[in-house]
């Protein structure tokens, strides 16, 4: 009875992933040396997309977390500490960064299960701040204190005289990071799509809109909320670890910056909450806006940026994706909607017990407004 349709979302992800494979080379061919900085911009956008999408996956359960920076920072510090103290392979810090973040997320999540809305937000913010000051106060020999720690880069492309030009070293490094970030985003997107296609999507919306009723319908809010917490922090933890390598250092104020949390929630709000596409569109949109403003306004670009955000929230309360979605839905014709309304309006015995002759549904053309 249920229609089996083509999984367009997965097809799209596959197509984009394949296309992405060629992006660095194409940019190199097009822009030459300038492709290094362009590639950096793209990487920043990919990073923002992972940050935003992972936050959104948690928000879908109604948990508007202000602790996202904490999990990002936990990932970053995990990889830094491993490098400093243990001679493990450099890559191991990335998945382990995710795992450590998940551990803390499950802890925080179980403590905040019963908190709703504003109290949840405050509790998560407090958690993030406490964690930050804890990291500040870790013994300097152990975690570097206020000065943080250096983190080795993931890639060290070598200059080979005669085979390449000098600038190509930087390009190769950015190219490698591009694939790591793209891979991380693809993984995050796939997780998000799996959640959206599974029955958990219904559980998420139910919990978000009315947790009590969700429980009465058999949804286990505690489990579902913790699961969302775990998935969300897994990806942001890995992102934190990768970024630590790319930036080359971790610092308490930088790895646990409140600004990270702000970006994580502003981006999906701009792009469209509770969707896979929204946070990505938001990340692309906001990074482009930021870059354009930086170039045109230089100094006061942050003011312009703030203005764009305020205006977009005012005029697109459901984000970019919401605006597009609504336009598409409008195409359901008036006639269809009216048929639906009529059918549902009357009782099942419609007509049988009407006074007098059966009523003629008014056949006038649709509404004006």
């Amino acid at each position: 009875m249920k229609r089996r349709t083509v999984p367009w979302d997965l097809v799209l992800v596959a197509l984009v992933a394949v296309a992405a494979w060629f992006v660095p080379e194409a940019m190199k061919a097009l822009f030459g040396r300038a492709s290094i900085s362009y590639l950096s911009l793209v990487i920043n956008a990919l990073s923002l997309a992972v940050l935003a999408l992972s936050w959104d996956m948690l928000a879908r359960t109604g948990q508007l977390s202000l602790a996202h920076a904490a999990f990002y920072g936990l990932g970053a510090y995990t990889t830094a500490l491993l490098l400093k103290h243990l001679a493990w392979p450099i890559w191991i810090g990335i998945p382990l960064g995710g795992v450590v973040a998940v551990g803390f997320a499950v802890l925080l999540g179980s403590l905040t299960l019963r908190l709703r809305a504003i109290y949840f937000a405050i509790a998560t913010l407090a958690f993030a701040e406490v964690l930050k000051s804890l990291v500040h106060n870790l013994p300097t020999e152990f975690a570097g204190g206020n000065a943080g720690m250096n983190v080795a880069p993931l890639f060290r492309p070598q200059f080979v005289a005669g085979q390449m030009e000098r600038w190509e070293v930087a390009f190769l490094r950015n190219e490698a990071y591009f694939y790591v970030y793209a891979g991380l985003l693809v993984a995050t997107v796939l997780a998000s799509i799996v959640l959206q296609r599974s029955r958990l999507r219904h559980a998420f919306i139910a919990i978000r809109t009315n947790e009590d009723v969700a429980g009465v319908m058999g949804v286990r809010p505690a489990r579902v909320k913790l699961l969302a917490f775990a998935v969300s922090s897994l990806f942001v933890g890995m992102l934190g670890a990768v970024e630590a390598h790319r930036v080359g250092s971790v610092l308490p104020d930088q790895s646990f910056a409140v600004a990270t949390t702000v970006l994580a929630l502003v981006t999906p709000i701009f792009g469209g909450l509770y969707t896979t596409l929204g946070p990505i569109v938001g990340a692309i949109g906001l990074s482009s806006v930021q870059e354009l403003l930086k170039r045109s306004l230089s100094e006061g670009y942050l003011i312009g940026y703030g203005l764009v955000l305020v205006l977009s929230i005012l005029f697109m309360p459901r984000g970019v994706v919401g605006v597009i979605g609504r336009a598409l839905r409008r195409r359901r014709t008036n006639a269809q909607r009216r048929a639906i309304a009529m059918a549902g309006g009357g009782a099942p015995d419609e007509g049988a017990s009407e006074p007098g002759a059966p009523p003629e549904p008014p056949a006038r053309p649709g509404g004006t407004a």
């Binding site: 219904h202 009590d212 009465v216 949804v219 549902g344 049988a352």
Partner: protein, 242 residues
Amino acid sequence: MTPLLRAIGLTKRFGGLAAVEDVSFDVAPGEIFAIIGPNGAGKTTVLNLLSGLLAPTSGRLELDGHDLTTRSTAERCHAGLGRAFQVVQPFPEMTVRDNVLVGALFGHPGVPRAEAERRADEALERTGLTALADVDAEELTLMQEKRLEIARALATQPRVLLLDEVMAGLRPAEARDAVQLVKGVRDGGVTVVFIEHVMPVVRDLADRVLVMDHGQVLTEGPYAEVVQDPRVIEAYLGKEGA
């Protein structure tokens, strides 16, 4: 017959107010059991104690011999308690079908997707909501929302269906349909506990009626008996009510 549902000395206090005080009753399998009483008598609170939205100050709840008193709302749903709310609470961001699907998907752990969709469609069909399945729940009228409440509860495939004033506001022909709907559900093997102020519905539907007042049980018995009881007339029906 051994009772399916047993409430034993249920009590709930809100601060100084005893909203429910020492309420006990048994419901037999396949029975349709009504709870009536004045506004604020504690009827909805009893249902909240049954479905686990409130923890009792004291007292116990058993379903089929198993103690459910300390179970979560979800566990009680899985054990077979389905609930339709008096203050309708659809999930507004979902379509009507998705609302019902939540009950079908999660009402019992591990229901396969296809089976859940079948149960949801069946619940929509029974409540006459099929034509509205793709409408956003926030577009429904109050009466349609009440039907949605029933549909969601049915989709969880309960053993005991708890209905809180789902027929208020129906015109007679519709109320008749609703009565038939509930009877059909019972004939399908479901036990029903319902709260209603519409007396003709109580008359046509209830095998037994529990009357509450000020949080306590006033009396219990068949409809014809309780409506003759002077205390019930005084506290609830009023002189011209019956």
